[in-house]
């Protein structure tokens, strides 16, 4: 039994018939081939699979594709505009906010949502805002610095 869904992913409308149990993250990865969104756990702890759903950061491993019917999804692949990196992508690069890069797409999209809600966060607010995203490589320090840097750049823009 499948269900029709129509989901706008990175600006393009996609229509598919999907099983009810298909996770949004596997719809993105396996059905659409958008493998930038990673799966790091199966209990919604790690945040690697974070995408924006109608502008809000969600863990796509705990959203069913059918629940995203009609929604607008932004993945890491859709963040750069006309080949120009998003300020967060740029700041993560500049500040060495990544090592193996596996948590990075989720980290960046969570930070996107964080800065949307709070454009000038304090360091403590950034650290708190990232509590749903785990990184095992960086020790977070440079991620926090990157988010701060991006906030500064975005405020100037």
């Amino acid at each position: 039994m499948t269900y029709p869904v129509s989901i706008t992913v990175n600006g393009a409308r996609r229509k598919h018939d999907v099983e009810a149990r298909l996770l949004l993250v596997l719809y993105l990865r396996d059905t659409l081939g958008l493998t930038g969104t990673n799966v790091g756990c199966d209990t919604s702890q790690c945040g690697s699979c974070t995408v924006l759903m109608d502008g809000k950061a969600v863990k796509s491993c705990t959203v069913l594709a059918v629940q995203a019917d009609g929604a607008k999804i932004t993945t890491i692949e859709g963040l750069a505009v006309d080949g120009k990196l998003h300020p967060l992508q740029d700041a993560f690069w500049e500040k060495h906010g990544l090592q193996c890069g596996f948590c990075t797409p989720g980290m960046i999209l969570t930070a996107c949502n964080l800065l949307e809600k709070n454009p000038r966060p304090s360091e403590a607010e950034i650290r708190h805002g990232l509590e749903g995203n785990l990184c095992r490589c960086t020790g977070y320090q440079n991620i926090v610095a990157a988010v701060k840097e991006a906030a500064t750049r975005m405020a100037k823009a």
């Binding site: 298909l22 081939g33 493998t35 060495h96 193996c100 596996f102 360091e123």
Partner: protein
């Protein structure tokens, strides 16, 4: 002369693909006709497998096959080889079948595999495989497992003892007799779960016509995986291509050759399609190796003035149910030889028992053996200081090995390369304002607030290592590295290396080395790694060896390029080869630097070979191998400041000062990043992380919900400092920095908490120092 690119914090060239989602990790690969594999795993810690019913699963829609361990064995797939057998220790190496055949020995042990058209169908079919088990008694604790009457895991290992390894130096008994004070402690260095954020995955494409296979796998060392696969799959080494594409962290857990590597190859062979397996996180917690898990009985002897005389230890190291690739080397060579750390301790003795238990196999986890040694010595130094009422800073200063640049041999027989421990420690104390902080601590105590200051002054062994030593200590491979530097006609450069970084940034640091040593732009250098078909043989990335050993090979190739370039230049400038000099990308006649050829000029001429020295081979390409004469020994001083809430038991890390010395620094941004990550991981062990099994042998901490990993909010900004003491072990004078943070931060934070709790008379707690444990200890102390 090296240009300024060496030593600069340039941005990483790896990052553009990683921040845009274009990087390809193993699970991102999709091949035509590809099927998915799911592993059926034992829910029991120890059981006989009485019967496997696979028919129902095999008949399900979309299922290509259900296979057992016996079928895999019959198809010629052998036991997973153990690649480290510590000599002189009567090591037992029981068979480790990739799929259990008649007995399962830990909860998570594979009993069958299912191959189906998609991930969901494979999981459905796995649930339909019926297995009848007869549960057997089990044991999870390593010390208990060696006692009489305990369940036996392997017939060839009586009392579950895999090996008994010893190390001795000096006269320990005499030193203890002569001691003024002796301190003793039982340390539980708890079991940890590595938690690379990318779970493991493996994808095999087998060709029956050619009997060859390509394996994409989450590995830190594809060449080792290929070598081991040639031993257990029946496919010859030259027919196996192993690709470690983007790898999402490893921390040791992606060193081993795992059963699933063989399973996907077997399944691809049986089903005639490419087969992929991707671990779920809960599966990762049971099926990927764990780390640490030592029970240590330790005693230290000292004189009244604080001079440490001797260290004696007895250790039960939990190896889990089977021997993973390097497991016996971790609690022995990488642990026991480093017991004296940064101190001049002349008398050392340790007995290590490697023990089989009904738990997930253990192996290298960031630090691998050295954290277990460093914690031991750092804790006991602290206890001696406490007993003698000495300042813990003073006792360290008193016992440091004095500064040395040309080797220092310690009691266990290792010769450290270079060190200046006092300098790093003094720098850290200054950054902290130690005297001021002690005063603040005393003032706060009067107000009922409790902060603690904890030290770890460490020296560690990495840059593994000389191959002859590897052979002598039972490691089943070499530990040299290789590199190829290839100049194209356009003057651009491809570099192929045997190491296999997975987040450490060597694509950048190695490009920096080539740029600074050959005078090309860093953007003109491309570094390739992680593919046995595209890179020369190398032993991979672990033991903080990629830069110290890998750069040695790279420098060898660079020197060959320079020498050949001098011959070409001499021909072009009609000069004698001996008169040609090199500086910053230019080759010129001695004394007249205005007459020169650039490396790009040489590269073009060498590639077209129109006007060329007679008898000289065309092309500008060099290949080199580097086998280091010794390990490298980075060192440093870490200081943690914690605040303990005596009402709730909660611990807050207030400050963290780290001064590390990894010799010459190629890219300070990357070095600092390694330290940040390492420190945070080690703090995790001190405060939150710990794997636990329940009475039935089930892993209680079986998911990220139950196993507490460090989060951004748990940390202040770390304060880093550096000293630079080069090594003469490799051409660039560099030491490894991948593991120092993890090695140092666990004891630093532990000692800080104990310092804060000292006024309450709390002398000992087992890690992790959770609020509950601290609160209970405080309640006990108040009673």
């Amino acid at each position: 002369m090296a240009s300024r690119i060496f030593g600069s914090a340039i941005k990483r060239r790896e990052d553009p693909r990683l921040i845009t989602g274009q990087a390809k990790y193993t699970d991102d690969f999709v091949l035509p006709g590809m099927a998915y594999l799911t592993v059926v795993r034992s829910p029991y810690a120890h059981a006989k497998v009485l019967r496997l019913r696979t028919k129902k699963a095999a008949a399900m829609d979309g299922v290509l096959g259900v296979f057992t361990g016996q079928q895999m064995k019959d198809a010629g797939f052998g036991a997973i080889p153990c690649a480290w057998v510590v000599p002189g220790s009567d090591t037992k190496t029981p068979a480790y079948p990739p799929i259990a055949i008649d007995t399962v020995r830990y909860a998570g042990n594979a009993v069958a595999i299912v191959v189906a058209r998609d991930r969901y169908l494979a999981r459905d079919a796995a649930d339909a495989v019926e297995v009848d088990y007869e549960p057997l008694p089990h044991v999870a604790d390593a010390e208990k497992a060696t006692q009489k009457g305990q369940p036996q895991l392997h017939a060839e290992a009586p009392n579950n003892v895999c090996f008994h390894w010893k190390v001795s130096g000096g006269d320990v008994d005499a030193a203890f007799k002569a001691a003024d004070v002796v301190v003793k402690e039982r340390i539980l260095n708890q079991r940890l779960i590595p938690n690379a954020i990318e779970p493991r995955a493996a994808l095999a494409q087998y060709s029956s016509a050619m009997n060859e296979v390509t394996l994409w796998v989450t590995s830190q060392n594809p060449h080792i995986v290929r070598f081991l696969l040639s031993l257990d799959t029946g496919i010859p080494e030259q027919k196996i291509r192993v690709i470690a594409p983007e790898v999402g962290g490893g921390f040791g857990s992606k060193i081993p050759h795992y059963p699933e590597d063989s399973m996907v190859i077997f399944a691809s062979k049986m089903c005639g399609v490419p087969v992929k397996w991707t671990e779920t996180r809960s599966e990762n917690y049971r099926a990927t190796i764990h780390g640490r898990d030592h029970i240590q009985d330790v005693e230290m002897a000292a004189k009244k003035d604080g001079t440490i005389l001797a260290l004696r230890a007895k250790v039960w190291a939990n190896l889990g149910a089977y021997l993973s690739t390097a497991s016996t080397g971790i609690p022995t060579i990488l642990h026991g030889l480093m017991l004296s750390g940064a101190y001049d301790i002349k008398n050392i003795h340790e007995d290590v028992y490697g023990v089989f238990t009904n738990t997930t196999p253990t192996d290298a986890y960031r630090g691998a053996g050295r954290p277990e040694a460093t914690f031991m010595v750092e804790r006991l130094v602290e206890l001696v200081a406490r007993k003698l009422k000495m300042d813990p800073a003073d006792i360290r200063k008193k016992n440091f090995i004095p500064p040395f640049t040309d080797g220092h041999t310690v009691a266990t027989g290792l010769t450290y390369d270079s060190g200046n421990y006092i300098a790093a420690f003094e720098k850290a104390l200054k950054m902290l304002d130690y005297a001021g902080l002690r005063k603040k601590q005393a003032d706060l105590r009067k107000k009922g607030e409790h902060i603690g200051i904890g030290f770890c002054t460490y020296a560690e062994i990495c840059g593994l290592g000389p191959s002859q030593v590897a052979g002598a200590v039972g490691f089943g491979g070499g530990l040299w590295e290789s590199a190829i530097v290839r100049f194209h006609p356009s003057g651009k450069v491809n570099v192929m290396v045997g190491i296999s970084p997975h987040g450490q940034g060597e694509e950048t640091t190695f490009a920096q080395i080539v740029a600074s040593e050959l005078g090309v732009s860093v953007d003109d250098v491309e570094v390739t790694h992680g593919d046995t078909a595209r890179t020369p043989m190398g032993w991979g990335s672990y033991g903080s060896r990629s830069t110290p050993v890998g750069s040695g090979a790279l420098m060898g190739a660079i020197v060959k390029i320079r020498e050949k370039s001098k011959v070409v230049t001499a021909h072009l400038l009609e000069a004698a080869v001996e008169d040609i000099e090199y500086d910053d990308g230019k080759f010129f006649v001695k004394g007249s630097p205005s007459k020169f050829k650039t490396i790009q000029d040489v590269a073009l001429m060498a590639n077209v070979a129109w006007n060329y020295p007679k008898g000289l081979e065309p092309g500008l390409e060099a290949s080199a191998f580097f086998d280091p004469p010794n390990f490298v020994y980075p060192f440093g001083a870490h200081i943690a400041v914690v605040r303990v809430d005596t009402e709730t038991g909660e611990i807050k890390l207030e400050r963290y000062v780290a001064v590390d010395d990894c010799g010459r620094v190629i890219n300070p941004m990357i070095v600092n990043g390694q330290i940040h990550g390492g420190v945070v991981q080690g703090v995790g062990q001190a405060l939150w992380e710990g794997a636990a099994y329940d009475e039935s042998g089930q892993l209680l901490t079986g998911s990220m919900m139950d196993y507490a990993l460090p989060k951004a909010e748990d940390f202040p900004n770390l304060e880093l400092g550096m000293t630079e003491t080069p090594t003469n072990v490799n051409p660039l004078g560099v030491k490894g920095i991948g593991e120092t943070g993890t090695i140092a931060s666990t004891p630093a934070v532990y000692n800080a908490v104990m310092d804060a709790l000292a006024p309450f008379g709390v002398g000992k707690l087992d890690m992790p120092l959770t609020p509950e444990k601290v609160w209970r200890a405080l309640q006990g102390a108040r009673r």
